[in-house]
């Protein structure tokens, strides 16, 4: 490890252990490295060539680094292809900090163990059981299933169905909030139908709003409802995390995103904005989304600057805000 945490300074959990928060640099907070739709590893026509996956991801991380990125957050949770030994090797070889996440969601991506357990009746897991499962991924280390634990997770990520939060998803959100309270990691939520409602679920657990990032706030419905500013007003981080997505009916375009960033900064929410691309390094069992991890740096920041965003605000959004979010409390 090249970056030992400074004595007394804040630290962030990465796959290679804790690093000094001040060393994170430019952070992409909502990305996916290896993304495997649960079950795809058993597909007869799905190949998982680890050497090939490594080469692809190493190339993308090196490009991100060369474009000015220093830390990438894999926010896909514990059951969507997370491969810790691969991520450790990638971080060592590229020098990019990799923060991996615990958590799960939405409900449709959970295994039957959590939804129809071998009890009568098959009652889905409550919040406390999810909290215990996620908390151990921080206090004891992230799991390689049925084998061993590795480094502690850097955040807990969950999501709700776009049709609206289900009962089990409420358990996931509350369990994630309790995990954050118990361990000091932040929570990442991808809201379902109503960002403010879903944020309130985690805040109802007593979690401080500045420990929460709400993803997907560049969805058209959220923007139309004024959700980005509302989330910021409540004190949570606003992730405009589909930067680079310009041809999707559900999301605003980069030009609109840039205008939204400037609006939020002008309204005094510059300390709550986060940018990311939700790019997928390698996708298995579902469609690829081959956006460079550095797209925010190479394309979107120039757009923001051309619209008049000050350099200090750019720095705040790309580095300071994610550092403050990810620093363990």
């Amino acid at each position: 490890m090249t970056d030992a945490p400074a004595a007394g300074g804040g630290v962030v959990n990465t796959v290679l252990g804790p690093v000094a928060a001040d060393d994170l640099g430019v952070v992409a907070v909502h990305e996916a490295l290896l993304s495997v739709l649960p079950g795809a590893e058993h597909g007869h026509d799905v190949t998982l060539d680890r050497a090939e996956i490594f080469a692809t991801l190493a190339g993308k991380l090196a490009a991100f680094r060369d474009q000015g990125g220093k830390t990438i957050v894999d926010s896909t949770g514990m059951f969507h292809g997370r491969d810790l030994r691969l991520y450790e090797a990638l971080s060592r070889s590229t020098g990019v900090h990799i923060v991996a996440s615990t958590g799960m969601g939405p409900e449709e991506l959970l295994g039957g163990y959590f939804l129809t357990p071998q009890t009568n009746p098959p009652t889905p897991w409550p919040a406390d059981k999810f909290a215990a499962l996620f908390t151990k991924e921080i206090t004891e280390g992230m799991v390689i299933p049925r084998l061993e634990r590795r480094a502690p997770a850097g955040l807990v990520a969950t999501a709700a169905a776009t049709g609206g939060m289900t009962a089990t998803e409420e358990s996931l959100f509350r369990g994630a909030a309790r995990t954050a309270l118990a361990t000091g990691v932040p929570v990442s939520i991808r809201y379902g139908a109503d960002a403010a409602h879903d944020l309130d679920v985690v805040l109802d657990e007593g979690l401080a709003a500045d420990r929460v990032v709400v993803g997907g706030l560049d969805r058209k419905d959220a923007v139309a409802a004024g959700a980005p500013a509302e989330v910021a007003r409540r004190g949570a981080y606003v992730a405009l995390d589909h930067v680079g997505l310009n041809d999707d009916g559900a999301h605003i375009t980069d030009r609109e995103r840039a205008a939204l960033v400037l609006d939020l900064v002008r309204a005094g929410h510059g300390d709550r904005v986060l940018l990311s691309g939700n790019a997928i390094g390698v996708a298995k069992g579902h469609p690829a989304y081959d956006l460079p991890f550095g797209h925010v740096l190479t394309a979107f920041v120039p757009l923001l600057e051309s619209l008049g965003l000050a350099g200090r605000d750019v720095r705040r959004i790309l580095a300071d805000n994610p550092r403050d979010l990810l620093t363990l409390r």
Partner: protein
Amino acid sequence: MSRVNTVLGPVPAEELGIVAVHEHIGYGMPGSELDATWWKTPEERYAETVPKLRRFHERGGGTFVDVTGICNGRDVDYYRSLSAKTGVHIVACTGFVGGDTALPFFERAGVDYLARQFVHEITVGIGGTGARAGVIKVGVSRGGRMTELDKRIYRAAARAAVTTGVPILTHLAIDPEPAVAIFAEEGLPLHRVLFGHADDGVNAPNTPDVWIAEQGGRIGFDTFGYETELEDPPFWARPRKERLDHFLGFVGKGFLDQALVSADANCSPLGWPGVKGHTVNYIFDDLIPDLRAAGLDEATLTRLLHDNPAGFLTIQD
């Protein structure tokens, strides 16, 4: 040519010996692998499993059919090593225990993809192991009725069974009308289907075993040993005598050739505590003595434990 797929390659059905037709080396619900509560070292796994299989072999057991579905911890390389070291033939399955154990990748798949998955695992192999599946597992999700996904899996299984000649084995035989209709639509004779768990304590009252048998289906009395008399019985347990009487009554109606028995035990459970004191060897320790005491002769026992499963498992040309 009579042929059955085992994890170490095809064997003639004549070599199967006594068959335990519905068992698990280790079963866990999908996702249970994330919960370290259940983790065991490989040393512990082998220590729990090998003596049970060795004893099964010594008592005359020939073949252990593992019906742990695709997302439930099926581990074919492990089964291959167990088979090679204990001498027990192990038949692995393709398919799913139920729609609620099929992970999103398969939940989102259509009938054609699922059928290709099953055919591949039967004719080419499971993952990179080279071992071919010898039976197709399907089942009814928790809740008592077949779900849309359950039906999609049954239809894909039926097509794979017609294509490959490998039989189908079900988890639960409740709500069988949609299943029987699907098999008929796909042209699969019902004697190629074993409708399982007709005897468990929760589902037996809701399982029309005689009706299924009259349609030509085989019936699995395959939870023998999950008894209320156990120290810590599971919720699907049933009084020992009640299950035995149910079975004898079914055979007494003239359905011996359609009856199959097994214990549905876990050698070393993966994602649940398991049931203390219950193993595949219930077949030798308790079931066979009980059947003899009830007056079944050796020829009948041979049909039940050898001929019926051999006929079921033999790949149809």
